[in-house]
Each structure stands twice: as structure tokens, then as C-alpha cells.
Symmetry: D2
Amino acid sequence: MINVAVCGANGKMGQEVIKAVKSAEDMLLVAKIDINDGEFATIKDAKDSVNIDILVDFTQPKSIYENALYCLNNNINIVIGTTGLSDMQIEQLEKLSKESHTGCFIAPNFSTGAVLMMKFAQMAAKYFNNAEIIEYHHNQKKDAPSGTAVKTAAMMAEAVNGTDGVNDKIGDFTNGNCTEIETIAGARGANSYNNIHIHSVRMPGFMASQEVIFGSNGQTLKIRHDSTDRECYMPGVLLAIRYINVHKNFVYGLNNIL
Amino acid sequence: MINVAVCGANGKMGQEVIKAVKSAEDMLLVAKIDINDGEFATIKDAKDSVNIDILVDFTQPKSIYENALYCLNNNINIVIGTTGLSDMQIEQLEKLSKESHTGCFIAPNFSTGAVLMMKFAQMAAKYFNNAEIIEYHHNQKKDAPSGTAVKTAAMMAEAVNGTDGVNDKIGDFTNGNCTEIETIAGARGANSYNNIHIHSVRMPGFMASQEVIFGSNGQTLKIRHDSTDRECYMPGVLLAIRYINVHKNFVYGLNNIL
Amino acid sequence: MINVAVCGANGKMGQEVIKAVKSAEDMLLVAKIDINDGEFATIKDAKDSVNIDILVDFTQPKSIYENALYCLNNNINIVIGTTGLSDMQIEQLEKLSKESHTGCFIAPNFSTGAVLMMKFAQMAAKYFNNAEIIEYHHNQKKDAPSGTAVKTAAMMAEAVNGTDGVNDKIGDFTNGNCTEIETIAGARGANSYNNIHIHSVRMPGFMASQEVIFGSNGQTLKIRHDSTDRECYMPGVLLAIRYINVHKNFVYGLNNIL
Amino acid sequence: MINVAVCGANGKMGQEVIKAVKSAEDMLLVAKIDINDGEFATIKDAKDSVNIDILVDFTQPKSIYENALYCLNNNINIVIGTTGLSDMQIEQLEKLSKESHTGCFIAPNFSTGAVLMMKFAQMAAKYFNNAEIIEYHHNQKKDAPSGTAVKTAAMMAEAVNGTDGVNDKIGDFTNGNCTEIETIAGARGANSYNNIHIHSVRMPGFMASQEVIFGSNGQTLKIRHDSTDRECYMPGVLLAIRYINVHKNFVYGLNNIL
């Protein structure tokens, strides 16, 4: 059994993690830590009372770095879903994780489905000369395109840099398109890396969905991920807990263990 | 049995019509007319030899008006798929059709599926405050958005003009959306009638597809049409032939008989 | 302003209705009725204190008939989402509604999107000789196919009974299919009305989705509805409230007012 | 430049290959071989006249083994799309290819998109406990489910055999489903490997499409491939030509070079 503590236990994500850990047969929930009304107010309090193998942190940008330092200095493996760490802080945590032989798993996105979608899109990019991305979000999302869509396009572009002498893939993803005229501006979407066009749909009824479409004469290949509830992050969190419990190393990004 | 003549018999559409008429159990193909190498060179030649109930015309913008005049003046019902008639010419044909009690069916789009998609989108528009359109075409299409997408948006906007005191539908289709920022220009697509956003995808693998998406909290409704071959126009052509054979009146647009 | 009372105010659906009524600009929430801990315990209690135009009932099969009788006998228009009324009870309510000139709106499904999907499927059925249905539900649903899918198939079949001399639609929806061999039993799904095949997918990640697919040579038409949250029923409930407030008649089924 | 000969040059696939080779900038079409009216009647005839680097064979089951033997014995690399080779014949060709250091590429499916779909489905299978397959074909296909769907299910099942101590994936793909009752037989589809359910749709408007759907709480992941024209096989054929021109080894299956 893996002894798991949850930090940020009263937050929306924390509560989902608690449910998920409780229903995992190989895990034991040993501590619910939350500065507001938690079973324990601090990680130290919890550590003094129970034996923690892994701490999962979904707290605040302002507290995450201190939390992580404490864990790595006290031989507690940590899985971090909280955002807000700077590049320099991440580097420090990697160094400390290696020196202390204590696991540290950081992921900006714990959705297995979304991470697989990006990975598959990157793999398919080598074999198609035409691709576009459509992403769908609820209508309270301010920015378009989404960070996930831009990241996906960057990964696809990266896949076609260089050539192996066999695959003739060139960098451009609007290969062979005729000169296009927008009779209403914006029709062709956002032109991103290597001319991958991204289209952003915003309306109620969606939480977060994305479809990557590849085409060549006579065929299309579509990879689509829909999330409708934050429960979707739990399989990724459990996977990270199990992974870090065995490997006790530093990992950035769920994609590295899928 | 309905005696059908095809004008423009050697063109791509003409050949499809010939196949379709031959396989319809209630029709007899009586004449293949084509200025280039046809069984008959002109409609008059055909009329002098065989009995024609309906003539289907898929020829050229430059010849269609003369062809239609000839038919209406000679008691031949005509189904017109050829584009290029001016508004004034269409008015003249309507007048002549009524005076001569001879059927004249003109349709810019004979795809039953596409016409139904537009009709359903218009009907659904009254019940959703949020909607967007995505259209997919091959990469040799020059303009974006497609004419069909713009027409669909216009029909949807029309549906919400006025109010009946029961349905509180307002005109705007981005109802409740927060202020949006495009970090790459064009991400949110072409802003058309009543803020219906249209997104145009262009790549090989598609001929002509369109999806109209409606959303409200907790649900989405999607109406999608895919065409992959010009055979898709034949059910609409046969429907028009049968309709005009019975009604012998003037009709503009397949939607009026669906 | 329409004065609305909610009966079953503490149930899941009741709470959604309260939120929806509160956010509707033309409605006023005047009473939260619930036998367990409600603002009022009975409809009578509420009626004695406040002026009710419309009562929305999402309670229990065992109480709905009595509730409806009370409303119709006391000049309170009622919108009923509670299931469990027998055919005979529905008939009685219709009679009483007409005699008392008091509105009574009963709907087995308040999802506007689902009802429109069924209506569009029925309309399209006349123009396609081939159609199948795929429905997707969570994996705690016991029966397959879903009631909505079977109802949709029945409506599609109904649409092609009889002929109008123009449309040659015949009854069978596997028109022209070759003799099919299932190498694994069940591959071709459930064969329902007029050979409409229904396929039932069951897995977590879906709440309730359905896609009706029509095909002919060179084209497909798809009508798809996805529900991800019970909020999806609220636009239909509000629509019914507004309708019955104006018309004060008897209506069974949301489809009759869409 | 790669000198390419096409055997079966007058067949439907042969003609597509000729078009594809002609439009590839790094290839030269040197011979059109066809027993019926070809530029050359036999491979030997062609070899005597022109210099062949790669021969692409889309002929008949009855001739393919002889053709392959001739090529491998005469230092001509061969790409084989023709079906009908027995397992023993394939073994012989592998042996001969290795001995002669002459390339031999055999693929049952040259569609890059279909092969990637299968590969991605296999990869995703490790991370989801629930998955089903829907495949769509034209209505002249006799058997259901399709060979590709069954092959995909087998690959997905294979992916979850054994355990790595980190991922808790178990073999069953209807994990957590309640006891299901089919009120119409077949609703839940064909139950294949590890309870992967396969649903087969048959209607005009599709050539060959397949969607693999994975679900967990709050998310779904879909991988879909649509083919609408046999042109879709050409990128895979060109890829095989280029690969075998460099590596001159034995390869069975396009998936091994993607």
C-alpha cells in the first residue's frame, strides 16, 4: 500500500484527489492537509503524526515552492499539480530531487487523454502534409487559441524539423493549398507554427475539447479529446503517484511516463 | 414513367444524372443532348424525335437562359442545375412558367443533405443562444468562408428576428461570452450574422463538409453534412424531377420541397 | 413577471430549476416547496401565502398525480417533469385542464437539444433510404438500446408510412444493403423499426449522447446531441413555463412547442 | 532519383500508383507492366529494357509469388500490395530477401492513416479501462465486424497483457460496467478481445471509416480514420518505396516503418 497525503485537501482538485485515492486499491489516504480547516494545517503537522510515502499538492502558486522544498528535504516524494513554479524554481527542485533521491513529479496537465492526444498528433505529423486544430472551450475562457492547442502545434512542428532521408515530410502543414482569400477576416483561423491553423470555438456546453485533423488525398485522421469534468485528471494523478513511488526520480510532464 | 432528357449529357454532372435516371424505376431516359458529341446536339433536335416530359439541364452559364426559354415556350418542364442565371432572368422564367403552366425548378444546391442541414440549423437557432459553424473543404477552394456557411448563418439569423412572446431568443449567438482576446489573430474565426462565428478548414481529404454546433449549459447539438462525391446531388435531382412532373409550377431552391 | 413555485425544491432537479428561474429576467421565484425541509411543506401552504402563476413539479411518482389534481382544481398552471403518471391519469389531467382552462404541461424529456434531434431525424427520414443510430451512455445504464434511441427509430419509421407520389421513400432503412454476415454476433447492432440498426456504447466519460446517421451515395448527414450535465434540461423547462403562462392549455411533450 | 516500375499498371490501384510516382519529385516511372495491354507484358521484358530500382506490384493472388521470386532473384527491390500470399510463401520471401540483400516490403494495408489509428489505439489501450470500436463501411461489404476492427481490438488487448508494476491496467475493457440487458439483441455490438465491443455501421456514403473510443470519468479520447478514395493508399506506397530503396531489407506491415 502507498501512503498518500493530500495538500490542499479542501480545494476542488484536492477533494477529487481524495476520492480517487480512497477508491484506489493499492493506496491509503493518510492525511488531509489544508491551511483552511484541514485535518492537518501543515505538511509538518501531518508528517509528525503519520507515515507519508507520497504527498499530492494542489494548493496555490504562492505556497507550492515552499511545500516542495519541505518535502524534498524531508524524504517525502511529491506530486505537484499546482501551477505557478518559475523555470528557475523547477530547476532547483530537479537538483534537490536528484541529490536527495526523493521523487518529484510536476505536470501542467494531468489529463491522460489530453497528453496522449498531443503525443499522437506529434507522431502523425511526420506522415501528413496537411493538418489543422479545432479547440472547443466554455464561453468564460478569455484567450484564444488555448495553451494546449498552441503547445500541440509546437510539438507537431518540432516533429518535422530535419529529415531522415526516407520520409519527405516538409515543414509546412498547408501543403499544396491554393492562394486563399478570406471574404470575412478570420475565417481561416489563427496561423500558428508551420502554418498549422487553429480554430477556437467558445460556447456553453463544452468544458475543454480539442480535435487535431490530418488530411491527404482520400483520407482524414482525427484525434479528439473531450473533457467534461475535472475527474478526468485523476487517472493521471494516480499514475504519477505509482510511478514516483517506484522510481523516486524527477519528472516534468505526464507525457514522459505515458 | 417519366420521360427524361439530359442536356449537357457529356459533362461530369450530366453523366451522373444519366446514371441516376437509368436506375430510377419510374423514369425513362429518352435523350442525351450535348453540343459536343451528344446523341442530339440541341433540345429542338431531341424534341423532334422523342417525347420529353422533363429536361434536366447541367450546361453552361452562357446557354442556360436560352435553353430554359425554349423549354418553357415548348411545354417541356425543366429542372435547372446550371448556375449563372441573373435575378432578372430568374424573374422572367418564373413569369413564363406561370403563364405557360410549365414546370421550372431551379436549385443552386441539389444536395438533399446540405439543404436539410441548413433547414435544421435554422430551426434550432430559435432554441439556442450560442452557435458556431465549422466548414471543411478541399485545399483548392479559394474563398473562405464557403457560400453555404454564410447562407446558413444568414438563415439562422433570420430565424431569430422578431419574438413571439414565448421564446426569449435574442439575436446574438455568442450570448454570455466573456470578453475574448485573440493571442493569434483569427483564432475565433469569421464573425458573421448576429455574431455567428464561422471557421474554415482547408485540406485534401475533404470535398465539402459542414457542421453547425449549438450549445447551452450541459448540452451541445451538432448537425453535420459530409459530401465525398458528386453522386450526392442525385437524390435531389430525382426529387425535383418527380415534383415538377406532378406540380408543373415554378420552384426556386430544393428547400421548398423538402 | 411570471410567479413561479418549485415543488420538489430540495431535489437535484428542483435545485437546478430554482437556479434557472432565478436567473430568468421575466420570472420571479415565489415558493420553494418540499416535503423535506422546504420553505413550504405543501402546495396548499404556498398557495395560502403567495400568488403562484406556474408550479414546476419535480417530485416523486407517488405524489405527482395528487399534486397535479390540486393545481388544476385551484387554478395553478403546472409544468410536470416528474415521471410515473399512467396513461389513464394523463387522460384525466388533460380533461381537467381543458375544463378548468388551466395549463398543464407534461414532458418526459425537457432537453431541447434531444427533442430537436428526434424531430430532425424524423424529418430527414423521408429523404434517405439508409439510416442507423448510435447512442452513448455512462456504464451504469442497465438497458440497451436507450429509450430515446428506440423512440427516435419509431418516429423515423412513422415518417415513411404512406407515400405522397413525389418522394419515392420506401420503408426500409437498409435499402440496397447486401446480405450481411456477422462473424461475431451483434456486430450489426439491434435491428429495430424498419431495419433501423441501433448501436449502444457504454462507458464512463459519457452521460447521454446520441447520433443519428443518414447516408446515400456520396453523402452522410449526422444529427448528434450530447448532454453532459442536468443543466441541459433548464432551457426546456423555462420554455414550457413561458408557453403555458400564455396558452394555459394541455400539452404532452416538449416537441409540440418546438 | 528512384527508378520505379509498376506491375499491374492497368488495374485501379496500378493507375493510382502511376499517378503518385509521376508526381513524386524524387521518383522516375520507368515501366508500366501489365499482362493485358501494358507497355511491357512481363517484369523480365521491362528489366531487359530499363533500369529498375523498385518494382511495385498490385496484381493478382495467383501471380504475386512468382513475381516476387523473380524480383528477389534478379536484384529488383519489390513493394507488394497484392494480397493472397500464404504464411509459408511470406517466410520464403523473407529468407530470400535476406540472402540476396534485396528489399521486399509487404503490406496488407497501405493507408498511413489507418495504420496510425491502430498504433495509437494500441498505445492508448494501456491508459484506459474502457474502450469500444465503431466501424463504418459501404453497404456492399458482406462481413461484420471488419478485419481492421478485429485487428485493432487484438492489438489493444495485446497491449494490456502483463503488467509493469506502475500502470494498474487490467485486461477488461468494460471495467466497472453494470450488468447490461439487451432489450433488442445486438444493441451492445460484437464482444471481441478483452470485452472490446465492436459496432458495425453499413450504408452508402461511407467507403471505410473507423473510430476507436476510450473513456474514463470526465473524459473521452477518440481516434478516427476516414477513407473516401483509394488515393489514400498512395502516401504509404511512396513511403515504402523510399524506405526499401534505402534499407533493402524485409518488412511486413506499414506499421513497422511509421
